[in-house]
């Protein structure tokens, strides 16, 4: 309190000046002999030092200096010129999901930055490690409505794991180091690094730091031994245990450990949409996907189990449906890296914080094989109950082609080593149900945000990341979402990526149409795309891809054979399918999980 309260003069008071920068501090300062480089050169050298393989980018005024540096330096990474910044972010996501590395995006200021927002939000919800570099107007111009200025830090704040604005060339290298560290560790996620134009022109000594100190960031939680013991006791005491496996198992590289754990203990496994591929679907312990469009027996197992072991999963509403009625008899063990996901939706009786792989490794020695014969037989009973009533759609002949048939044929041709990317909608659910996922990181989709337009660019990123491995990359899309980023076909063609791109064309925004049929009195409001769809075959040819079409099961066999014979460019196959087909089973949004719709006409669980 000042001595004289009447004389508070705010203008002359010496207030502590908050440092207007948030640069991370390197563990050691650059050595005296470090070369002095421009910010743009430091950027390129830092990405090289970080081991970046691909940069998905689009140039513009604010980052022209970096593109100039790329032309002169000829860096060790490859720049992939995408045709829309959103496509760039999804390609980086596809690359990250397929390889486990951090995806890198480089865009200019203003619209370049705002176009990445959907991809950043997608990566945030699906925990995909991305670093997105956005151009920015020069520091003195910030805040003055300069050309192509947008408050990127503000716009992206709630959809990033963290973000930085670099305020001096000397801060560039440590900030880039920190960005990759944050994106990769803990629960992975997107990090935005905003690069004002003058920072790229200014010079500073360059040395890429070995280590970075971030005092507010603590991603690692070694699993607590008492929690491990408690979980082990709960598992041993349970009679009807169920493993509920999510995408964290895959991003934590723990799928083999999980498979071993399940087989050792004889506990059945159900996976989320992002968990597909974490456990071999051919195994007799595999129940397939759970949730809104999960299998009947997986959802019945959830409703009946007495112990639910959630591993790297976050109890999403598309999994749980009506929370209060979900897994009503189950105690819950939750293995999770992100403390803010524990007991967020469903109370965890035993939460084990930590890396999924570490936790499984710690848990394994405490567990003995369990006798789950009766429990597995009960689940098998539910499975038989449904399968007996099922009529398989025609897989041969010249009748109409059902979408599930087309997807099964693609899955069979692609084989267990293939990687599938999907878009969002009915085809995404049919692919999850029918394609068959043979290995980890083989299923790449937009689950949390549900971003239409994700499938094609993600396939490009995945195919680049998997080049030389021999893995076929298949992309299944609907006619609605495919058009949202179809401009990236040219990128796939340029890089001669042998993608197999399927467009399941029902001339409808099919998932919305399905809800309209089921829940909105068959009022099909604005879901007919037949009069705005292009000729997809001609579209593919226009971009230098091969275009094929099939509308019967026999034609589908023929075009799939033809597509796999092409190895030097992308192939687009348009499958013409009936427009009223629906995805079943279905738990209506907000309903209890055992309240499933199994077929269109009255089938009742």
């Amino acid at each position: 309190m000042p001595a004289d309260p009447h004389c508070d003069d705010m203008s002359t008071a010496t207030l502590p000046r908050p440092a207007h920068r948030a640069a991370p501090t390197p563990a050691t300062a650059p050595a005296a002999e470090a070369p002095v480089l421009t910010g743009a050169d430091i950027f390129v050298r830092s990405l090289e030092a970080e081991g970046v393989e691909f940069v998905f980018g689009h140039p513009g005024g604010a980052i022209i200096k970096i593109y100039d540096a790329l032309a002169q330096i000829r860096p060790s990474f490859r720049h992939i010129l995408v045709r829309h910044e959103q496509g760039g972010t999804h390609a980086a996501e596809g690359y990250a999901k397929a390889t486990g590395n951090v995806g890198t995006v480089l865009v200019t200021s203003g619209p370049g930055a705002t176009n990445t927002v959907t991809g950043i939000a997608d990566a945030m919800l699906d925990s995909i490690p991305l670093v997105v570099f956005t151009g920015q107007v020069a520091v003195p111009l910030i805040g003055g409505d300069a050309f192509q200025e947008v408050d990127t830090m503000g716009v992206t704040r709630s959809v990033t794991k963290h973000s930085f604005q670099v305020r001096s060339a000397a801060d560039l290298a440590p900030t880039i180091k920190a960005a990759y560290h944050i994106a990769r560790t803990g629960r992975p996620g997107p990090v935005v690094v905003d690069l004002p134009k003058d920072v790229l022109v200014d010079e500073a000594p360059f040395e890429y730091p070995e280590e970075i100190h971030l005092r507010g960031y603590h991603p690692a939680h070694p699993p607590r031994p008492d929690k491990i013991e408690r979980a082990a006791r709960m598992i041993q005491a349970s009679e009807r245990p169920l493993l509920y496996v999510g995408g964290g198992t895959i991003s934590g590289n723990a799928t083999e450990a999980l498979t071993d754990l399940a087989r050792h203990t004889r506990i059945p496994v159900t996976t989320t949409l992002h968990g597909l591929g974490a456990f071999p679907e051919a195994d007799d312990l595999a129940l397939g996907m759970l949730g809104m469009h999960g299998t009947y027996w997986a959802n019945m197992a959830v409703q009946t189990c007495d112990l639910l072991i959630a591993i790297g999963a976050r109890f999403d509403d598309r999994v749980t449906g009506k929370l209060e009625a979900w897994a009503p008899h189950a105690e819950v063990i939750h293995v999770e890296i992100d403390p803010s996901c524990v007991s967020k939706n469903v109370f965890a009786d035993c939460a084990i914080l930590g890396d999924v792989g570490d936790v499984i490794a710690a848990l394994r020695p405490h567990l003995a094989p369990k006798d789950t014969v009766d429990w597995l037989a009960q689940i098998e009973g539910w499975k038989r109950q449904v399968e007996e009533g099922d009529t398989e759609p025609e897989a041969t002949g010249d009748g109409p082609l059902q979408p599930q048939v087309a997807i099964r044929k693609l899955g069979a041709k692609a084989g267990p080593d293939a990687v599938l990317t999907t878009d969002v909608g009915q085809h995404q659910m049919w692919a999850a149900q029918c394609f068959g996922f043979g290995r980890t990181r083989s299923h790449i989709t937009s689950g949390g945000l549900g971003t239409m337009g994700f499938g094609l660019p993600a396939a490009i990123g995945a195919a680049l990341g998997l080049r030389g491995t021999g893995a076929t990359v298949v992309s299944i899309n609907g006619d609605g979402g495919f058009l949202m980023n179809c401009q990236e076909l040219g990128v796939a063609a340029k890089h001669r990526l042998p993608l197999k791109i399927a467009v399941i064309n029902n001339s409808r925004l099919g998932m919305v149409r399905q809800w309209q049929e089921l829940f909105f009195g068959e009022r099909y409001s604005e879901t007919d795309t037949s009069d705005t769809n292009p000729d997809f075959v001609a579209l593919a040819e226009a971009f230098g891809c091969v275009g094929l079409r099939a509308s019967t099961p026999d034609e589908a066999d023929a075009v799939i054979e033809a597509a796999w014979a092409v190895t030097d460019r992308p192939v687009l196959i348009e499958f013409i399918v009936p427009n009223a087909e629906m995805v079943f089973p279905m738990v209506p949004a907000g309903a209890a999980t055992d309240d499933m719709i199994l077929t269109r006409f009255g089938g009742d669980a």
Partner: protein, 196 residues
């Protein structure tokens, strides 16, 4: 959708409700309460934004925020009052802790031994005719005069939030021109919040 009262909850469902601090009676929902979070954050532009943004993005109430530097020039102290059920507040705490700019956090639940203070400035219309009456009233309420001129008197009052509420209620009947509140500052009586 209202829960069906005839459907009995399983033992596990009851346990979850209790663990979440929810009442098990469908017709007696839990009353939200005001909790105070005391947070040490990095003292740089953007850190405050991140914390405040999180509350709106996650649909959590923000009753008051006060922020200022500490004895360590690189650290600011942020005091946030938030109203919610135990479950909501617990989730807010977890999310705030996750932010990279957050260095330390303590949560004061209602009933905790806490010292809480808020500063209020109030400007009251006061001319020569009624100045002495206004001064007498505000002094009687424990406020200190910090400025006076021909038209108005500005007074300050420090106290806990309910005292400030009562003060404003009384003076609002006496030509209150404007009022400013600092938001609450709070310390736990026994625990000390420090950098880890």
């Amino acid at each position: 959708m209202t829960p069906d009262p005839t459907r009995a909850l399983t033992a596990q469902q009851l346990l979850r409700k209790r663990a979440n601090g929810e009442t098990v009676l469908a017709d007696a929902p839990e009353a939200p309460q005001t909790h105070v979070l005391s947070i040490l954050i990095e003292n740089h532009a953007g850190a405050l934004n991140r914390v405040v943004n999180l509350f709106s993005a996650r649909n959590l109430n923000l009753d008051s925020v006060s922020v200022g530097p500490t004895d360590d020039a690189t650290v600011s102290r942020l005091t946030v009052a938030t109203t919610g059920t135990r479950r909501q507040v617990r989730q807010a705490v977890r999310l705030v802790r996750q932010l990279l700019d957050v260095l330390a956090l303590d949560e004061f639940t209602p009933g905790d031994p806490v010292v809480a203070r808020e500063l209020c400035l109030a400007k009251l219309a006061a001319t020569a005719a009624d100045r002495s009456a206004v001064l007498e009233l505000t002094r009687g309420l424990g406020a200190t005069v910090v400025h006076a001129d021909r038209e108005a008197v500005t007074v300050e009052l420090t106290g806990d939030s309910s005292e400030i509420d009562a003060f404003i209620e009384v003076v609002s009947e006496h030509g209150l021109l404007e009022v400013a509140r600092s938001g609450r500052l709070a310390f736990h009586r026994q625990r000390h919040l420090a950098l880890p």
